[in-house]
């Protein structure tokens, strides 16, 4: 090993605390950065790959067959910006019933509403890939979409709503990358599946020259709408909405991981600057010896940069491993969605991120290393104890006159003696406290999302009225045959009103119908009574307050290509009911694609409008167990059952919480270690003064107080400064998280910092600073007077 190598190795080995700090800070920064960049790039790859392979449709458009002819639709292939098109395909919203048993579903099961498209072949735009079985070869066959219907090749389906109840055999299961249909039949068969009185509908698939952004796809849609009669285009779905939904979970990680990555890299630069600067300051004599032995200034510079790069390289390597491992479960989900290989973080990210981190580390270390290189040999080798500083004398005089114990006064003046070092300590504390404020805010936001993401989770009690009502979020598969009738809603409501402890309640039920602009079945959640107190948080518009209204999520709006104020037509067995979208809400139940409306809408569609369950809020102070027992005594004769409301936690949110907690903790630990490092340096620099004070009678507790006060004087204002920065970071990042999943967060989910929380967070800097200083403060307190006086 060369002399330079030995010096670097000795430097790394001698400073274990500093080495640990450098490893940890680069580990944290690289982990978060690799995850953020990797998820950003890799999570989109399976969709992009499948979309390219299957020549996916940028826009799936639905037309009203009464307003446009097939020739006019074919002409849309020449609309401005359209490069390729397929169709028109006859499209039918219908329901099927199983006519044979299979391993997946028995005979006689009513399947949810579905979109069946008449399509001769599986190629062209939106090439449909077979997962199993074969493509259509006759009018008695049907191919179903993967993961939409619980059937397999060989199953027979009947369509009771169509004239003559035709029966078709499932011959294949296929996959459309953007889900352009739930099932495909031959073009001749498609029209025969429509119920009498159904409006004929057609589907067209388009590819555009430019479709990278929502605006470009919207422009393409507008160009198509312009060449067909007004009102003919009654629904369109952008591939970007599908992509967003498919990659939503992974993409939701990216904004906060990117923020942690940037925080980590900045903290790395700061901490490594502090460590190397401290190492140079503490080893002036050593540098002098090295130079006197013949080390050139360049070698000295390389030695100190090397002492930072070696542990940082270890941290980078560990960060790479941890970042790639953490990405596996998140990316596996995305890969599974497209039946492709599991996505993995691209190699170039594994190279670029650590390389960038190491370059930043080298730059941070270079400044103090150059200072070491420029030191004059004679001056360095004759350096004795650190000369006293004339800085901060005025503050010392002032604090000496404060009516506080002298140890506190000396501590308060401490930061002013070395303002540059105090500034770096403060910066480390600010980073740590920003991370805490940011992390706590994220946790509060995710907590709000968690508690409000499921519909009807605002009550404490749920009363089920029987009648085969599916639980919230369950796939609506209705078994045929006689069902146990629902409990009489009037009697259930009367029982609830009569029960002591009942606060307020509303009824709700669900149904699967077709909604204009949405492929496949749409879950309609219908409300009876005032549900505003337990409704999902509103992003814009208003909650339901009259018949004919509906509330949906941004994801629904985007998928249907509509806005608040527009109308959606719901269709069920030939009945068409328009509802006006009066508000945009935030919820993730059913992938956020449910439509909320009063029960009168279901009645208008000819569906059962009696509540399948009641959501109850009990009066404050009510014993829930006793309430449930008493209420069930009343409900039992009616055939209804009350239970405590409980909702499942999202595993994605739980994973985010765990990751946020881990990254916050790592940043805080690194910040604390940064403080520890500067306090160690400061204590060593001032050890002689410490000895004098001890010789004059300063007790260990007073020493501890002095050192802790000196960092508290930095930590308190740094913490106070960090809170608004952390809040601003949170307010910047969280909307991006909502946008990443296609659902803007309600303002209530972003404005999560209550004054008491802010007050506690403001103390975060103090806690980090004091925690970081306790170890060296303890060392200072325990150092014997004779040792301190001898140490120069």
């Amino acid at each position: 090993m060369s002399a330079l190598g030995r010096v670097v190795r000795a430097g790394v080995g001698r400073r274990r605390v500093q080495t640990t700090v450098m490893i940890m800070t680069t580990l944290m920064a690289v982990t978060a950065s690799v995850l953020a960049a990797g998820l950003l790039v890799a999570s989109r790859a399976p969709f992009d790959h499948a979309f390219a392979q299957q020549h996916g449709a940028h826009l799936t458009a639905r037309f009203d067959g009464t307003k446009v002819t097939a020739a006019q639709l074919r002409a849309t292939a020449h609309a401005s910006g359209v490069t390729d098109a397929a169709g028109p395909f006859r499209s039918v919203e219908t329901r099927a019933r199983t006519a044979s048993s299979s391993d997946l579903v028995p005979e006689g099961v009513d399947l949810p509403s579905m979109t069946v498209v008449g399509r001769a072949d599986a190629g062209g735009v939106d090439r449909v890939d077979l997962v199993s079985g074969s493509w259509l070869s006759g009018p008695g066959q049907i191919v179903v979409a993967d993961d939409v219907l619980p059937v397999e090749p060989g199953t027979r389906l009947t369509f009771p709503g169509a004239p003559g109840s035709p029966a078709l055999t499932v011959v294949g299961v296929a996959r459309s990358v953007t889900g352009t249909a739930d099932a495909w039949v031959t073009p001749a068969r498609a029209g025969t599946l429509a119920a009498p009185g159904d409006t004929p509908a057609y589907e067209m698939l388009y590819r555009f020259a430019h479709a990278e952004t929502d605006a470009q796809v919207t422009a393409g849609r507008a160009a198509i709408a312009a060449v067909v009669p007004k009102g003919a285009l009654n629904g369109a779905e952008s591939y970007l909405a599908v992509k967003e939904e498919a990659t939503a979970n992974a993409m939701a990680f990216v904004p906060f991981l990117a923020a942690f990555g940037v925080l980590g890299l900045l903290l790395s630069v700061l901490v490594i600057g502090i460590v190397v600067s401290g190492a140079v300051g503490a080893a002036t004599r050593r540098i002098g010896i090295l130079k006197s032995l013949g080390f050139t200034p360049a070698q000295v510079v390389r030695a100190y940069v090397g002492q930072a790069l070696v542990p940082s390289a270890v941290g980078c390597a560990l960060g790479l491993v941890v970042g790639n491992l953490l990405a596996v479960p998140v990316l596996a989900e995305v890969g599974d969605a497209f039946q492709g290989p599991s996505a993995s973080i691209p190699l170039w990210i594994d190279v670029v991120v650590p390389a960038t981190a190491l370059v930043l580390v080298a730059c941070a270390a270079l400044v103090p290393a150059l200072r070491a290189g420029r030191l004059r040999t004679v001056a360095a080798i004759t350096a004795g104890r650190t000369p006293g500083t004339s800085r901060g004398r005025l503050v010392r005089r002032l604090t000496g006159r404060l009516a506080v114990p002298r140890a506190v006064g000396l501590g308060l003046a401490g930061p002013f003696a070395r303002p540059a070092r105090s500034a770096t300590t403060a910066a480390a504390v600010v980073f740590g406290a920003v991370a805490v404020t940011f992390g706590v805010g994220l946790a509060l936001t995710l907590g709000a999302v968690q508690s409000g993401r499921m519909l009807d989770s605002g009550g404490s009690v749920v009363v089920g009225t029987g009648g085969g009502q599916a639980p919230p979020g369950a796939q609506a598969v209705h078994v045929g045959g006689p069902e146990k009738p629902k409990a009489d809603p009037a009697e259930v409501a009367a029982a609830l009103r009569a029960q002591q402890g009942t606060g307020r309640f509303y009824g709700t039920t669900q149904a699967e119908v077709s909604a204009s602009g949405i492929t496949g079945a749409t879950t309609v959640v219908a409300y009876q009574g005032d549900a505003s107190w337990a409704g999902p948080p509103m992003v814009s518009g208003d909650w339901l307050d009259g018949p004919g209204q509906a509330v949906v999520t941004a994801r629904f709006l985007k998928a249907a290509g509509i806005e608040v104020g527009d109308t959606v037509t719901l269709t069920e067995r030939g009945r068409r009911v328009p509802v006006r979208i009066v508000g945009e809400a935030f919820f993730t139940e059913g992938e956020g694609m449910a439509l909320l409306t009063p029960v009168s809408t279901l009645g208008a569609l000819g569906l059962d409008a009696t509540p399948g369950q009641y959501v109850v809020e009990t009066e404050r102070g009510t014993d829930l167990t006793r309430y449930l027992t008493a209420l069930n005594d009343r409900l039992d004769p009616l055939g209804a059952v009350a239970r405590a409301d409980s909702s499942d936690d999202s595993s994605v949110i739980a994973a985010m919480d765990a990751l946020i907690g881990t990254l916050t903790l790592m940043l805080v630990v690194v910040a604390g270690l940064g403080v520890l490092n500067t306090v160690v340096l400061d204590t060593r620099d001032r050890v002689h003064d410490l000895g004098v004070l001890k010789a004059l009678g300063m007790a260990p507790r007073q020493t501890l107080t002095m050192v802790v006060t000196s960092v508290a004087a930095i930590g308190l204002p740094a913490g106070a400064l960090a809170v608004p920065i952390g809040v601003a970071l949170h307010h910047y990042v969280t909307p991006h998280m909502g946008d990443a999943v296609g659902m803007p967060l309600p303002s209530a989910h972003i404005a999560v910092y209550e004054p008491p929380v802010l007050a506690l967070l403001a103390l975060g800097g103090l806690v980090i600073a004091v925690a970081g200083a306790l170890l060296p403060a303890g060392w200072a307190a325990r150092t014997t007077t004779a040792t301190a006086l001898r140490t120069e």
Binding site: S390, R396, G400, G691, G697, L789
Partner: protein, 237 residues
């Protein structure tokens, strides 16, 4: 005449560091109130070790050290700190003033650490600075003072809490001749006013002018214990 209890009572004190020879070997020594003891000896003879043991900065490997009735060798670090605040004042060769505190603030430190009321502490510090003729430098920083003036500040600081014992470690070792004479004169004055002093020095003239008794150490043992004839009557025993 009834014997007065000694301020310092060391019995069979030894101090060994590691495997090496003892720095002090079975030293028994007592210092009476009002006495000024000069400890002489070559480098490595154990002078500083002796002073550290009396000051509670170090603990003996064997033997007992009692100062003003307090068993110093049995004190923990906090007890030692309390002891140094109340029983002893220390003067160092290189002054050990805190450069970033003014003269007054340096002198005030022991009183402030001991929790003395502010007004009383300020009055005491002002009085000491006046008595030691450095009051005109009260608001100056130590770096602006001469060596002799700095040592006067150090002495003022050592006397702040009215200690029973003043310990001085080579108090003239870092001073020029004139300043050294100034400090010798000051210590003599203090002793004449009744202050018990133990000083470690190479400076024979300091010992001759200030000490009422001289102890000489060689290899950690007391080889000579000489009382100054002219001062014997001044020592209250």
């Amino acid at each position: 005449m009834a014997a007065t209890a000694p301020v310092i009572d060391m019995r069979a004190v030894s101090r060994t560091y590691g495997e090496g020879p003892p720095a002090l070997a079975g030293v028994t020594l007592s210092v009476a109130p009002g006495e000024a003891l000069a400890v002489l000896g070559p480098s490595g003879s154990g002078k500083s070790t002796l002073l550290n043991l009396i000051a509670g900065l170090d603990r003996p490997s064997e033997g007992t050290v009692t100062v003003d009735g307090l068993r110093v060798d049995q004190l923990d670090e906090a007890g030692s700190a309390r002891y140094r605040r109340t029983k002893v004042g220390m003067v160092f060769q290189f002054f050990n003033l805190l450069d970033d505190l003014t003269v007054t603030d340096n002198v005030l430190l022991p009183a402030q650490l001991a929790g003395m009321p502010r007004a009383a502490a300020r009055a005491r510090a002002a009085g000491l600075l006046r008595d030691l003729r450095i009051d005109r430098h009260a608001d100056a920083y130590p770096g602006r003072l001469s060596g002799g003036e700095r040592q006067r500040v150090a002495v003022a600081r050592a006397l702040m809490n009215r200690p029973a014992l003043l310990l001085a470690d080579e108090p003239t070792g870092a001073l020029d001749t004139a300043s050294g004479a100034d400090v010798r004169h000051l210590l003599a004055e203090l002793n004449a006013s009744g202050q018990t002093i133990v000083l470690v020095t190479h400076d024979l003239s300091l010992a001759a002018s200030c000490a009422t008794r001289t102890v000489e150490l060689v290899d950690g043992r007391v080889v000579r214990n000489t009382r100054s004839a002219e001062s014997a009557t001044a020592v209250g025993r």
